[in-house]
């Protein structure tokens, strides 16, 4: 791992935190799914929990929604331990849409309304319209496509307009139009002051809709913070000289990340965002006896940053 791993110390119960996690640990037998994960979700944020498959995203959401019990650690919703009264105020979609297969969309949402107390029977029509399922409101859940099931789950989460929403892979199973609609919906919710906690393995999804993110890998929190701080591109500088090996050795004094590409006859170095000064690099090389024949600043792709973080 060539990027530093950040283990965040949670300041417990900070006033603006909707959710605080403190050293959450969970094991399935010998497999440790979460290893002391701590972070905070600020109010009004769209908080992405990002990580590859098996990184512990769903386990983490399951714990904060009380369907799994953590082995160690605790979490606070609005500064208080999780309870059923708090869950009633949170619209949630966890893993797969879970509904009674023999019931229609509208009858399933009546159960959601009855348990959570969120919204009214009249609101059910509104949320079904919002996710474009109103025409199929009387069809059985078992007759729905995967995308429709997902949209019904989102409708259930939106019922009663809860101020906090938890979405686990909300665009799973949706077609491109559906994905765009849900992302737009999340942005609208964010703009109207909702706090959204969203697990995703899709980088561009997190980049497009999230304000904050936490990156998980094999149960370890790699980093967390505002998206522009943790996922924006580093400065990548591409250089070339007649002696690539000597150039590479010299550049190790400037950057920990030096890549020599013999095919392209270039050396690439990575520097923290906004710190690359080409004139200074040129001068540094010249003073050390290397004359550059190529020097350019490149933006690093988001995926590369993610792969760097997750060491893939």
């Amino acid at each position: 791992m060539h990027h530093k791993v950040l283990f965040m110390n949670v300041e417990k119960n900070s006033p603006s935190a909707v959710l605080s996690l403190d050293k959450i640990t969970k094991s399935y037998g010998p497999i440790q799914a979460l290893k002391g994960v701590s972070f905070e979700v600020p109010e009004g944020s769209v908080f992405g929990i990002l990580g590859p498959n098996g990184s512990g995203k769903t386990t983490l959401l399951s714990i904060i929604l009380d369907v799994l019990k953590a082995n160690k650690g605790n979490f606070l919703w609005f500064g208080h331990p999780g309870s059923k009264e708090q869950r009633k105020k949170i619209g949630s979609l966890l893993e797969t849409p879970n509904f009674y297969h023999y019931l229609s969309a509208i009858n399933n949402l009546k159960i959601t309304q009855s348990i959570s107390g969120r919204g009214t029977i009249g609101d059910i029509d509104e949320v079904l319209k919002k996710v474009r399922l109103y025409e199929r409101r009387n069809s059985r859940f078992s007759s729905f496509s995967l995308g429709m099931k997902q949209r019904l789950a989102i409708a259930a989460a939106l019922l009663g307009d809860p101020k906090v929403l938890v979405f686990d892979e909300p665009t799973n199973g949706l077609d491109p139009v559906g994905i765009a609609e849900i992302r737009q919906l999340i942005i609208e919710l964010r703009n109207s002051g909702h706090t959204i906690i969203m697990a995703s393995h899709l980088l561009d999804e997190v980049e497009k809709v999230c304000t904050h993110a936490a990156i998980l890998q094999t149960g370890i929190l790699l980093t967390t913070g505002a998206v522009e701080e943790i996922l924006t591109d580093d400065d990548a500088v591409e250089l070339s000289a007649s002696n690539l090996a000597a150039l590479g050795d010299l550049l190790k004094q400037l950057s920990q990340h030096v890549t020599i590409n013999n095919e392209l006859n270039t050396v690439q170095i990575t520097l923290p965002k906004g710190t690359a000064r080409l004139d200074e690099i040129n001068e540094f090389c010249f003073k050390n006896g290397i004359i550059l024949n190529h020097l350019t600043l490149k933006k690093k792709r988001l995926e590369a940053r993610f792969f760097e973080l997750t060491n893939n």
Binding site: S62, L65, D66, V67, L68, E85, R87, N98, F99
Partner: protein, 272 residues
């Protein structure tokens, strides 16, 4: 209607499979009793000597008050039909993963189990009402209008309820443990119809050991003893069975409490 009962009603009221099995349940209780009633009529209306002996021996087991005991005993054969409903209601929650959704939406685990216990309790009450109505109709139609003590054995309604609630609770626990409807139903039926029957009788007749009366189904089976005419074959044994009923009321209540404590504990302990 409390929110929990209302929510359970929303789950059930548009569930076709539930109403099919419920309909079958509603037919089996009058069905079994009328079947035995007509067998009895058929026997007593024959003109053979054997028929006269049987009539003298049996009296009319369907007349009140004896009819309460007779029909409670026959009705208890069909516990497997409402057991299907109970097993369906819990295993569906696991199949559709709605047990976890109910929690996510704002129920506590205790709320979920309370809802399920309410289902089993209400089903036991409905089945008991069904039995009581059938027993009353058949009983009154077989009893002289001026006969005294028609209600003397009506406490068998209570015993029938206790047995039904007890055995349906065990079916529920099996469903909860195994989570799959067909497997749970097969295990419940196989155990209660075959395994326990063989074990109880094997212990009783081979080893003269009565420990079998503490087996889960047998504990409440002994609440509803055989019709009184059976006493003619072994009066002492019949009297012993009658005397044991009050103890089995206590054992059944204890088993009922233990069963639900186990279910609540298991639900609380499990990841969903």
């Amino acid at each position: 209607m409390t929110p929990i009962v209302k929510t359970e009603w929303l789950k059930i009221k548009n569930y076709p499979a539930f109403w099919w099995v419920f309909g079958i349940t509603a037919l089996t209780y009058p069905g079994i009793n009328y079947m035995f009633l007509y067998v009895y009529y058929d026997v007593i209306h024959q003109k053979s000597t054997a028929s006269k002996v049987v009539t003298a021996l049996m009296g009319n087991p369907f007349s009140l008050p004896e009819g309460w005991r007779t029909m409670a005993f026959f009705s208890s054969f069909f516990i497997y039909i409402p057991a299907i409903v109970v097993i369906m209601l819990i295993t569906n929650e696991y199949t559709y993963r709605t047990n976890r959704q109910n929690i996510i939406d704002g129920w506590s685990r205790k709320n979920f189990m309370t809802a399920k216990m309410t289902d089993v309790l209400l089903l036991s009450i409905i089945v008991t009402i069904l039995f009581a109505v059938v027993a009353l109709i058949i009983g009154l139609s077989n009893t002289n209008i001026n006969a005294p003590g028609k209600w003397n054995l009506s406490y068998y309604i209570g015993l029938f309820f206790l047995q039904t609630f007890c055995q349906l609770s065990i079916a529920f626990a099996v469903g909860m443990l195994l989570r799959k409807a067909f497997i749970a139903l097969a295990v419940f039926s196989f155990y209660s119809l075959i395994v326990e029957e063989i074990a109880v009788n094997f212990l009783k007749y081979k080893y003269k050991n009565e420990i079998g009366r503490f087996f889960p189904i047998e504990i409440s089976d002994r609440l509803l003893i055989r019709p009184a005419f059976i006493s003619k074959f072994d009066e002492q044994a019949y009297q012993q069975a009658l005397n044991a009923v009050k103890y089995h009321v206590v054992y059944s209540i204890c088993l009922l409490i233990l069963t639900w404590l186990f279910c609540f504990w298991l639900n609380n302990r499990r990841d969903l």
